[in-house]
Symmetry: D2
Subunit: 151 residues, 4 copies
């Protein structure tokens, strides 16, 4: 498998096998080591504050955390030599979020949302990503910074 095939393989696996992401309607819509994206649609079950009808802060944090985790995973995979699916899985098994900061900039209103991420520190043990959440009008709803264990 070349790099793009590995990216595609892992994106498919994760989209099919992560219960909480499925519950929220999250889909990994771009899996790449330069920029990754998570897409989801508005649904009433995602409401935090019923009077204001805006996304729960936990939905925003979950989307940013996943986007950062995906770009960190892609940067691990990109640095691997050609590898079997099993070797990729073993390398990704060490991936985990160490800490996450979420800045809630504007009310979480909209019909369609995209959380995007890119890497700002790419180390052998730790990676740092910054993330943004936008709606279909390109309103900048939230900003995030996440530190990930990568080995």
């Amino acid at each position: 498998m070349n790099k793009e095939q590995r990216f595609q393989k892992v994106a498919e696996l994760w989209n099919a096998n992560m219960p909480f992401n499925q519950l929220l309607g999250f889909e990994i819509s771009r899996f790449d080591d330069t920029r990754s994206e998570i897409s989801f649609h508005w649904h009433d079950k995602l409401i935090g504050n019923p009077m204001q009808k805006i996304l729960h802060g936990g939905v925003t944090a979950a989307a940013l955390d996943l986007a950062g985790g995906v770009v960190a995973a892609a940067s691990i995979i990109a640095n691997m030599e050609e590898a079997s699916a099993q070797v990729i899985q073993e390398n990704l098994s060490k991936l985990g979020t160490i800490d996450l900061r979420t800045d809630f900039l504007r009310p979480g209103r909209g019909e369609h949302f995209v959380a995007s991420a890119h890497i700002i520190r790419s180390g052998s043990k730790v990676a740092v990503a910054r993330m943004e959440l936008h709606n279909e009008k390109n309103d900048h709803i939230a900003f995030g910074t996440g530190t990930y264990m990568v080995s």
Copy 2:
């Protein structure tokens, strides 16, 4: 209504009317301005990583965010003179999370979880709370710091 009655009233309202908290099985089990708590049970739908069977980071962040929001709400209500339900609602309508840091300390495993919060900065405009997530064995799973707009 005295302070305890107001706390009880708002806890009941929030438990009955917040879709995302209901989706995740979150219950406000203590609503108090000195210490607030959110309780929830393990459920497979909360899994982030299917290979490790641990809570999704977004579940952890959502629980910490809610616990901090509840203790911030309680501190707003505690500082109010005797007030009608409507006045309480108006005051709480301004409540919102500005930013949230989540530290993922240990894998999110367990059967029952409690997120607790207390206030470390109580201002007229902004409150800061620190939060912890523990399981039924009292393992310290996560730590959080949240900044909340209170007026």
Copy 3:
């Protein structure tokens, strides 16, 4: 005074009257509501770790905090009607950092450093800025996010 004159006035006042910034050799080199900058030169007194000869983390945090505070101040001033020096001072007296996250991305080595900031949330009570520290080779040394009280 027009906006640019007000910016210049405050930049001069702050550069002349902030003891800790002078101790570290910090200079406000750009005071603007779209992007602000702090400049400083390497000096051995700024060393944290003598074996590695890199900037102390506190120097990095101080530069990012100041850059964010300057762009938050500029956004306050930009929103004011034409105002006297005294009115400006009164408005800025409420400015303060609520919280600051600093990500240390690369070792703090170099001869000349610039911390830059711009606003990502501009509210009537709270502003959020993101900041970066670069050296003369444009290495990205640190990243920051700061929440500021603005009224």
Copy 4:
């Protein structure tokens, strides 16, 4: 050297050889893996805002960062077998701050300050510490969370 002797040795070395800490008057007053402390006295050169005569945010962040770094160093040393000064130095050479959150809770006023830290995550690669800054009246001035690389 036993554990206490190793702690003492490193505390002496660091107090004597860290230029920025000396510039600010910081002293490691407790070097221990359960709780570490940094002490310093008020000095006008530490002023951030001359109108309010309070500590610069960078001083607060520097003290918290150092306190967290010291308790992380102590936890590395505590886990080592009996070791020579050189082996200790080699192990500590990998220590570094990955990220730091500082919450500024109250104005930094006082005559004498203590920053204290303890570990909330102790891993083989990464440690997380939480820190507090108090003055001589025990006012809680600031709170911090730091993530440190330990190997």
